[in-house]
Symmetry: C2
Subunit: 300 residues, 2 copies
Amino acid sequence: MPLVVVGSVALDSVETPHERRENVVGGSAVYFGLAARFFTPVRLVGVVGEDWPPEHTQLLQDHGIDTSGLMTIPGAKTFRWRGRYLPNMNDRETLEVQLNVMSQFDPVLPEAFRRCKFLFLANGSTKMQMRVLDQCVGPDLVVADTMDHWIRNEPEELRELMQRIDGLVLNDAEAKLLAQDENLVRAGKKILEFGPTFVVIKKGEHGAMFFSRHEMYVLPAYPTSAVVDPTGAGDSFAGGMMGYLAEKNDFSPRTLKEAMAYGVVVASFTVEDFSIDRLLKIRREDIQLRLDEYRKMLMF
Amino acid sequence: MPLVVVGSVALDSVETPHERRENVVGGSAVYFGLAARFFTPVRLVGVVGEDWPPEHTQLLQDHGIDTSGLMTIPGAKTFRWRGRYLPNMNDRETLEVQLNVMSQFDPVLPEAFRRCKFLFLANGSTKMQMRVLDQCVGPDLVVADTMDHWIRNEPEELRELMQRIDGLVLNDAEAKLLAQDENLVRAGKKILEFGPTFVVIKKGEHGAMFFSRHEMYVLPAYPTSAVVDPTGAGDSFAGGMMGYLAEKNDFSPRTLKEAMAYGVVVASFTVEDFSIDRLLKIRREDIQLRLDEYRKMLMF
């Protein structure tokens, strides 16, 4: 099943204790799309400025992503993020955010995207996420991401959104903030009460937790020694997860758990190089091999 | 197989965001012993002062722990630790340490303890750990714990100890310090090169990692919403692990992995109440039930 993702397309500048990269390809929708395309056709909705190199769009297309929903705003600049990772390579500080075109991002879904069965609302304004949802005709599965900024500044809208989506994906700090609870198990359960059928809490290098009415579990991250750049790990986790669900055209508890595992594995590749470089190099077989190892790792 | 543990016996004072307890039973050997006794007879070696209430010793005996190796130093005081947990209930600050009897702890193993097949050297001076090892006749499996203080202050001795033990158990911050590497996967592999056949890195609420020449894996913590007091989680993890190995009288890779899982599960009980209270209440069947759930949680 085709999968529609709406989110940011960015030029990132990243500093790690070892290296730095300026203006590399990034953004939640990009990482998500490049992770999901191993499993299913991806339709990307986003916005860039005139400074966005067209070869980046070409690159996405070459990797099976339908970019007909990627708008270019003349005379405007692409969303830019600059961050620095601490020596533990898990925590980071945002040094600069230039919203640019993202500040008025008001996506219009191409006609062909509206009957999407699988929709992922990547990080962005809750109001914008809701306007996208309004444009979709009878989606089967809608999952959204959010972050501290929207939890703090659009709480009413987020409450409403949570009533309208099937799944919410957010990181540990965001889950604690949203639930007003420092214990992640309680936080996940509280967020369920806000409306979603399932909640996924991403814990960075410590994996991810899943919550539904009848189930709760934790899966660890796939351990890798080659952490080069963690940017996009969370978005590619979501991409791997949603991509697998769309491929299976199923979201039973069993498939959801497998999807979580695929998300973990795809994210473990993402961090092994800067920007999207690793995601461009691997093949579905690499994912499958690592998934089999991961499955074995958790069996006793 | 009987299991000998040498370590601290303490009176702890614990503050959490919700409650506090003064002078409750604690210490690495106590938590370890009470976790291991579900699986195998435990022989405890430690030291207390005159202020140690004899009913605490009775309590340990009532729970199947052989305390004939617990010395009382007349006129001296028991080791005391005071700590405060941060709201996340994972990180803590040590507010006060009174070494008291631990400062000259020089254990003499009772004759009956010397032919121990399974030995755990809980946290303590590396020199002391080595003197204990000297007293053991042909143990089959020796595992040690250590901490930042000894890594910094007895590095030579620790190097020597690591050549003489089978397994080293330590927490994430300690592993990074010992290996001088911020990546835990690399850190674990480096520590293996120092000598132990296997290394276990405890990650608190994020579970534990296992390293041997041929294998590396991560197991998440069992998720619990009822975290009341995390004190002793690491020691009871080690107790559950070693207890299971001693019960099976085996330390094949497969049994080691099962043992890790038992350690995770026992630790998840420990944190559900203050001090040793939860460990005193549960039965082996409770551990087994939770282990089965945990196994299922990790299957996909």
